[in-house]
Amino acid sequence: MKSAAELLDELQGAMPGVKLALATNPSPSAQHSLVVAAEDALRVAVYLRDVAGYDYCSNATGVDWLDKETTEKVKTTRRVKKEVDGVEQEVDETVEETVKRVEPGCLEAVYHLYSMRQGPHDPHPPLVLRMRTANRTDRVELPSLSPVWRAAEFQEREIFDLYGIVFKGHRDLRRLLMWDEFEDHPMRRDYVDPDDFEYEPTPHDEVLKRAEEHRAKLAAEGAR
């Protein structure tokens, strides 16, 4: 039984210099996944299918990671000129500073891989393979894995539709669920749905808020 970590070692042995990382899952299931860099994704996928035996891609989906802002308190030591007992001297001073760090967000494509070749007592546990885009706005291209697993073809179209990841090498990349004229990507975290709250008979929580905003907007328009 090869875990994701062992598979990572195997891949790095077989393809020196391949850009791979392990994304750990802290939950009790401990189903760790492999994060592969976009430029190495195709050859890693071919290896996984032909050598490691992952011949079945059961699911591909997307994740939208927003920019993550973390604040940290850091102690820094500087040399400062200060008057000590009437004489100007250079003294070390330790200052505590809060540093804000922004981890840039990205869009992620997640592939769930299985091995059908091995039968029920499968030495290959299901594998989760991830790819990340450079950012969430203008560099959202990833290589398509549909040449490796045909099953990913529709799923990548769905990811393209709902998250806006552009898959290079996909042979028919069109929207799958929404209509062609639609411009947004509705599963992105910053998607704003149309203001369609004029009739809400049982509003609650978020819907109540949106319905009240809608009513206020209408009242403001009526007053003008």
Partner: protein
Amino acid sequence: MAVESNLKIELGKQGVFVTTLNELYNWGRRNSVWPMQFGLACCAIEMIATTMARYDLARFGAEVFRPSPRQADLMIISGTVTKKMAPQVVRLYNQMAEPRYVIAMGACAISGGPFKQGYNVLKGIDRYIPVDVHIPGCPPRPEALIHAFMTLQKKIAAQPLTGEERPRHLDASAQGEFPVPEPGAHDLEPPVNRLVWPLPAPTVAAPAKEGA
């Protein structure tokens, strides 16, 4: 002119059958309502069950599901109407010949149901076409669909052939074609047909705040 019901019963006891042209006409119409063969989601399974032997919609003269809108009198909106499907539904409704009726079956068809706040589901087909009977339920049982059908039959039976309330096929000035919504950049254009879903929308009292 309607016949007094007591007089009608009395005459019936004497072996005399009296009716009006209006009644006869509507009796024929309401017992041969042919639905369109078209289903949208899981409610369609219940609709199919309704037509089968156990529930037997044929008892009401509606067993002939027509595969063409040209031959159908009734459109059963059985299931979720997605925004991508809505233009096609309106177009099919436009292709039906008068007299035509619509039953909106299930929570999704009447309001969007559990998907109401989703990005791709229409909040009720009555935003684009006139609906005669709404049935709640997720999905409604076949009995509920039969009840809706009987409600529609009662509605047809009560229609006068002249005057303001006459059915649309006898009214030359009635609106025949309903605008088909266009797919837009963020939503359907227009998002609602104001002729069938007029403003102001029905107002709902704000829920009482706790302690107020």
